[in-house]
């Protein structure tokens, strides 16, 4: 099958590659780029394990072709840590609040929560629950995930206030 040339930015790095037009973004990232943080849980865009942040939106990379991401700016869990190497408030919050067990949903969950907090820096519990409803977790029962997102929101907001 003829391959298409694509370029994109992934976690701040420019990537150039040849892909079959039918290659899904998640397979491109995982199999060709060794970015294995985003996972495959359903391949039908229901579970959210494959969530990446693409041009400022949460995207389920199992239902998007890699060629559709040509020119895009993508961030995955691997690019979530702060520039100085410390972990992002969400990564800290999930560990602090026991917001994960098997860890399989976690990369997608954190990536989704990251965009949620960009859009709504002080979400209510109901807004957090609604905001992560496209991401399934089979282990935690969500309560600790909600707490983790809230803790991160508070931490980020006090960091912002301190900076102002």
């Amino acid at each position: 099958m003829a391959k298409s040339h694509i370029t994109m930015t992934v976690n701040g790095k420019t990537i150039e590659a040849l892909v079959e037009p039918r290659t899904l973004l998640i397979h491109f990232l995982r199999d060709q780029q060794n970015i294995t943080g985003p996972h495959i849980g359903c391949e039908t865009s229901h579970c959210g394990a494959c969530t990446v942040d693409l041009d400022g939106k949460s995207v389920k990379s199992c239902t998007m072709f890699a060629v559709q991401a040509n020119g895009a700016d993508i961030r995955t869990i691997e690019g979530m840590a702060n520039a100085d190497g410390t972990l992002h408030a969400l990564q800290e919050g999930f560990r602090e609040m026991h917001g994960l067990q098997c860890g399989f949903c976690t990369p997608g969950m954190i990536t989704r929560a990251y965009r949620l907090l960009q859009e709504n820096p002080k979400p209510s519990e109901a807004e957090i629950r609604q905001g992560i409803s496209g991401n399934l977790c089979r282990c935690t029962g969500y309560l600790t995930i909600v707490r983790a997102v809230r803790a991160a929101a508070e931490q980020m907001s006090s960091a912002r206030e301190a900076a102002e």
């Binding site: 995982r30 060794n34 943080g37 849980g41 995955t76 602090e96 067990q101 935690t140 969500y142």
Partner: protein
């Protein structure tokens, strides 16, 4: 020494031992996307396997044409039963003593059954090849309803068992009969029921559901043809058992097989069994000489790898007019699907279903379980509970509610009257179990008081009156349930799988600098063993948990163990860990006596060191003793500080709990709100309360799914009509309530009380039903 100046409390805190809400060591990698799950593996030359599966529930295969697939560039092999036959690998043993087709042998028996295995350069080419394989089927009548399995005219499902009048669990009385398992006093129970003042009966269907971990099942098999070693990474909840089974099936000697369970994305019972994908990957790797990866997709996971429940239970419960239970009888029709691949201890084909007298003092009981074949996927695993315990727990609690309604008694009051009293422990149940300990009444009362039960019942009465007057369209339900689980399988005297005793193990090495590696035969799938087992050792050894690495899941390094499922790892492997730790400490004590020039009886243990009794300033810390173990041990003692322990538990263990659920239902829209859910669990010693709470939250959420309609829905032709996450219900954060939990929670949980509490809460027309279906 600076440590001498630290208080006992400071030294204890530094250990992060038992009872500490220690943050999980696993999370450092998981929160950065650095977990290592099976689909993350990429080996040089690795190929991908994919299955052609049956679209039919029951059909004869008339031909398979693989020419077009083999002609496709990038396709390396296509395997069918014909190819496996010369190797005698077209069938494999199951954990339940039956056999299962690796690739369909002339017939398919359930939708999604493996028919051919394609191996190709990448997953896309493999999928293309699957589409190019032409299989012709001749449709046969599908048997979907287990109540019709043993009808005289029922179709023969298992041609391979024709004429076999006995199976792994005794005589077979019909071509679709697997076993009949019976326990208890049939005559005494019949007598008590026929002479009873009150008898309540109920037919209860516990529907087929699926554990559906977020990561599906998969493996990478790699045969090194030079040295004859097979290495396999995969989603295995029981890696050593997989090694033994792989050796028995393949003929490769067990010492040349290495099974590794890397990070596992949830199991819940789904990853206990040995699946055709594993066998086909091994064969393909042997044939082609390169690593072969197979990872199922979600539809395959739901269609073909292990389900749970599917118990059809008929119960009779007898009592006095005052509500004192006098007898219990249960008949179960168990739908095991097309092959009996239940993952139960071998002597227990219905698991520990005989825990079904629950938490109540019932003088006599009798249970029969009949396993039958249908045209559905094999399985029957312990999904978020011990073996068939959720089924048992749901059964008894439902029966108690039915009895309460018949007697016009409050469901909490009837439970209170029948709960086993704390002075009755150790308690011998009518069906043969010895319950170790408990204070059930205190637990029930605490739960009822916490939620304000009496006030809730008042509110419910007023709300029903208002409803009757037409003032509201909302009704309020209250569910109360109590459970006793039976976990920690188990004592070798009665628990084995295929002859392998269900002990577990731990091997510890203390390094000269006082850090430790502990290896276990279990494997975490999210339970956080690397965190909690280190805490056990921290308390046993007086070495901080942060200096203890816990390694599991590699059969080349870990001592033999039976794996993680059925709520067994902490009671069995956790105990093995403590026992091995005590061996280390005993040796350290002798070294300390040698160094301090005293008799070892003159020493006492103090958090992280041995002290000379009466001379507290004379002491040796474990860190000092670790180093001494490598250079200055007593004469005649071997150097080093290592121990291994294989723990065969003397009994099962019996955690319990009381749950209360309050729901509001809009009778017109059906919208149901869970106003409150309170769960009280008692598991004994808590190792890490944070992790325990997380485990309980998760169990409750899966129970919510089942109570709210999760079901594998088969149509009459044997099609699984909801084999995707679009149709198969998994709760999101929106449907899931905020759980309130309390008490000494357990890592073992039974999800049935949740369903029961919800279901009874929502059952709003008293006396309306003699048939329960979630």
């Amino acid at each position: 020494m600076t440590t001498e100046t630290q208080s006992a409390q400071e030294r204890t805190q530094k250990l992060e031992g038992l009872g500490t809400r220690r943050k999980r060591v696993e999370d450092v990698r998981f929160t950065q996307g650095k977990g290592n799950y099976v689909d993350d593996f990429k080996l040089p030359g690795m190929l991908f396997g994919d299955f052609v599966r049956s679209p039919y529930g029951h059909a004869r295969i008339t031909s398979i044409n693989k020419a077009a697939a083999l002609a496709l560039p990038g396709v390396k092999a296509v395997l069918t039963a014909e190819d496996l036959k010369p190797l005698k690998l077209h069938w494999m043993p199951t954990l339940a003593g039956d056999v299962q087709a690796v690739l369909a042998d002339e017939k398919v028996l359930f939708q999604g059954q493996e028919v051919a295995f394609v191996v190709a350069e990448d997953r896309y080419v493999a999928a293309d090849a699957v589409d190019l394989i032409e299989v012709e089927f001749e449709d046969l009548p599908a048997l979907v309803d287990p109540s019709q399995s043993m009808a005289a005219a029922a179709p023969v499902l298992r041609d391979d068992l024709q004429g076999k009048t006995s199976g792994a669990h005794g005589p077979r009385k019909h071509h679709n009969h697997i076993f009949t398992w019976e326990v208890g006093d049939a005559e005494g129970t019949a007598r008590a029921i026929s002479g009873a003042q009150v008898v309540a009966t109920e037919h209860i269907v516990y529907q087929r559901v699926h554990p559906c971990p977020l990561e599906t099942c998969g493996c990478v098999a790699s045969m090194d043809k030079v040295n004859g070693h097979l290495t396999m990474w995969g989603t295995f909840q029981a890696p050593h058992a997989v090694r033994t089974v792989a050796s028995l099936i393949s003929g490769i000697p067990e010492h040349k097989i290495r099974i590794v369970s890397p990070d596992i994305g949830g199991g819940f019972g789904n990853k206990v069994g040995v699946y055709p994908g594993y066998i086909c990957s091994i064969v393909a790797s042997i044939v082609l000489g390169v690593p072969v990866k197979w990872v199922e997709d979600r539809m395959e996971n739901l269609q073909a790898t292990a389900f749970a429940r599917d118990y059809h239970m008929s119960g009779e419960i007898a009592a006095t007019q005052e509500g004192r239970i006098t007898a219990l009888r249960c008949h179960v029709l168990a739908d095991h699907g097309a092959f009996d691949a239940c993952a139960d201890p071998t002597k227990y084909p219905a698991g520990f279903f005989s825990i079904c007298t629950g938490s109540y003092d019932i003088p006599v009981a009798h249970v029969t379980v009949e396993g039958v074949y249908t045209n559905k996927a094999p399985g029957g695993v312990a999904y978020r509970c011990s073996f068939r315990v959720t089924e048992a727990s749901y059964f008894i609690e439902r029966m108690i509610d039915v009895l309460a309604r018949k007697l016009g008694m409050d469901p909490a009051e009837i439970r209170r009257r029948n709960l086993i009293r704390k002075e009755q422990f150790p308690y011998q149940s009518a069906l043969g179990w010895e319950y170790d300990s408990g204070d059930y009444l205190a637990a029930l009362d605490k739960a009822l008081n916490t939620v304000g039960y009496a006030a809730l019942r008042d509110e419910q009465r007023r709300s029903r009156e208002a409803f009757a007057r037409g003032e509201t369209r909302k009704l309020m339900g209250i569910g109360v349930s109590f459970f006793t689980e039976i976990v920690g399988a188990g004592p070798i005297k009665n628990c084995d799988i295929l002859g392998l005793g269900m002990f577990d193990s731990c091997e510890i090495r203390v390094h000269p600098t006082g850090s430790v590696i502990a290896r276990l035969g279990t494997i975490s799938q999210g339970q956080g063993h690397a965190t909690t087992f280190a805490q056990i050792l921290a308390s046993e050894l007086g070495i901080p948990a942060e200096k203890i690495t816990v390694e599991e899941g590699d059969t080349d390094t870990a001592p033999y163990g039976l794996g993680t499922y059925g709520s067994r790892s902490t009671p069995v492997a956790g105990a093995a860990t403590a026992m091995a730790g005590r061996k280390i400490r005993a040796k350290a004590q002798m070294i300390a006596a040698h160094l301090l020039e005293v008799h070892d009886d003159d020493l006492e243990w103090d958090i992280d060191r041995f002290r000379v009794k009466g001379v507290p300033e004379l002491s040796k810390t474990m860190a000092e003793l670790a180093f001494a173990a490598y250079n200055n041990v007593p004469p005649g003692m071997e150097p080093g500080l290592e121990a291994v322990s294989y723990y065969d538990p003397p009994n099962m263990t019996y955690p319990f709990g009381a749950y209360v659920c309050v729901v509001d239902v809009d009778v017109d829209s059906g919208v149901t709100e869970i106003r409150r859910f309170y769960a009280l669990d008692d598991c004994g010693t808590r190792i890490n309360p944070m992790i325990i709470e997380g485990q309980v939250h998760g169990g409750l959420t899966e129970a919510l799914a089942i109570a709210m309609g999760q079901e594998m829905a088969y149509d009459e032709a044997g099609n699984l009509t909801n084999a995707s996450l679009l149709d198969f219900f998994l709760p999101t954060a929106v449907e899931t309530p905020s759980w309130e939990i309390a008490g000494r929670a357990s890592s073992a949980q039974s999800c049935s009380p949740v369903q029961l509490a919800m279901e009874t809460a929502m059952r709003l027309q008293p006396g309306a039903s003699t048939r329960s279906r979630l």
